[in-house]
């Protein structure tokens, strides 16, 4: 069943390629705006790169949250999911995984290219990609709670940012921190381990909280 949901959502994402591409291009544009606003001085850009790429990834992932449940909500599929004999948490986990595969993974793959724009050294590029790989699924999982709570509300898109961005802060700190650590020549293992821990905790708790939120929102 879990695989069914993942497969279905990916199939839908493929049929709606433009949505996936929009998120990706948003990410690229935001990252490219910074040199234009603070100037092309390479040393400064190199220092800012981890933070910029991470913040842009945060925003891109958040913007795509609207699609996580909204379409299913509008056409009645979500009602059916609530009435499924399957556990709703598992369905939510499947949807979050599909969301990450469709929006998170493209960001992760794009990140090294953007890092090159900022003249990051190779080892930093590697850590940047790795930290995003561990961190972006957490964003999808936590975001699922926010998306579920704001389902069908006026101005849900802006509201969801108020709800989830503060919760994203730890991921941001350790994600960007890992890259800064390696650039400063410090050990970055602790950062990545903590990101991994966040991932584990959110895999266990977030689907459950999001499922509860869906039930509240659908009532």
């Amino acid at each position: 069943m879990f695989l069914w949901i993942v497969q279905r959502d990916l199939l839908l994402a493929v049929r709606r390629r433009s949505d996936v591409l929009t998120t990706l291009f948003f990410f690229i544009i935001v990252v490219s705006l910074f040199p234009l606003s603070v100037g092309p001085e390479m040393n400064m850009l190199r220092m800012m790169a981890p933070g910029i790429v991470w913040v842009a990834a945060l925003l891109a992932s958040m913007l795509s949250l609207g699609r996580l449940f909204a379409n299913d909500y509008l056409d009645g599929t979500l009602e059916q999911m609530l009435l499924s004999p399957q556990s709703l948490s598992v369905l939510v986990l499947g949807k979050a995984l599909a969301h990450w595969l469709a929006t998170g993974v493209p960001l992760v793959m794009m990140a090294p290219v953007l890092g090159i724009q900022y003249d990051l050294p190779t080892d930093a590029l590697f850590v940047l990609t790795l930290s995003l790989l561990l961190g972006t699924p957490v964003l999808s999982l936590i975001g699922a709670i926010g998306a579920a709570l704001t389902l069908g509300l006026r101005g849900g898109g802006v509201l969801v940012s108020l709800l989830v961005l503060p919760l994203y802060i730890p991921v941001l700190i350790f994600g960007a921190g890992a890259v800064e650590a390696i650039m400063a020549g410090i050990d970055y293992d602790a950062h990545l381990s903590l990101l991994g821990a966040f991932l584990l905790v959110s895999v266990v708790f977030a689907p459950w909280a999001a499922a509860a939120s869906l039930r509240v929102s659908m009532e």
């Binding site: 599929t77 009602e79 999911m81 009435l83 499924s84 004999p85 399957q86 556990s87």
Partner: protein
């Protein structure tokens, strides 16, 4: 056996209905009637456990559905206003996925048979977005052919259907009742379905 005891529903400040009680035996049909805004859909959603009543409870085979949890959903099929068909998927994909969601995995062949029976033969591979309202409805209702659930809760199943489809659905409902199933439905149309017992529930 499905029972509702002393149900009440409140929306905002307004009481939609109160002290509604009923019993539905195997093979029974319950028709929920009432003008627009009288709470028909709310009642059906309460029956499904989608929302909880302000008062009273729903009992399925002697156990309150709140404590049954997902076990109840093994016996239930609900088709609401929204058909749950995805614009970007074909009729066939829609049917297969929606039945998998309700716990019945069906093969390609079964799905094609069901669509054929619903008069959708030859249109299985069309994306749902180019289907008409009535055709989407048929795709949604095709699920009734493949699911093996006892209790069907249908919200305006006949809306947007043409005469032949209405006949088809009525036959389907009758068959389900004959096999000992139960149906709770709302409709604005006259329907002609013989059942072991028919309960008329009037909402003010």
């Amino acid at each position: 056996m499905l029972q509702g005891t002393n149900l009440a529903c409140v929306r905002g400040d307004r009481k939609l209905f109160e002290s509604i009680s009923f019993t539905l035996e195997a093979g029974g049909l319950m028709l929920v009637n009432g003008p627009n805004g009288s709470g028909k859909t709310s009642l059906l959603r309460i029956l499904c456990g989608l929302s909880s009543p302000a008062m009273g409870k729903i009992i399925w085979n002697g156990i309150a559905i709140g404590s049954l949890g997902s076990e109840y959903y093994l016996d239930l099929t609900y088709i609401g206003h929204l058909s749950g068909t995805k614009d970007d998927l074909t009729a066939l994909e829609n049917l297969r996925i929606s039945s998998a969601l309700c716990g019945t995995k069906i093969t390609d062949m079964q799905a094609r048979d069901a669509l054929e029976n619903m008069g959708m033969g030859g249109r299985e591979f069309l994306p749902a977005k180019i289907l008409s309202q009535g055709q989407r409805r048929r795709v949604a209702l095709a699920r009734l052919l493949v699911c093996r659930t006892k209790l069907w809760v249908l919200d305006e199943p006949l809306a947007a259907l043409d005469v032949s489809a209405v006949k088809l659905i009525q036959k389907l409902l009758e068959q389900h009742l004959k096999l000992g199933g139960m149906i709770v439905m709302t409709t604005h149309q006259k329907i002609d379905v013989t059942a072991a017992s028919t309960v008329q529930l009037q909402l003010a």
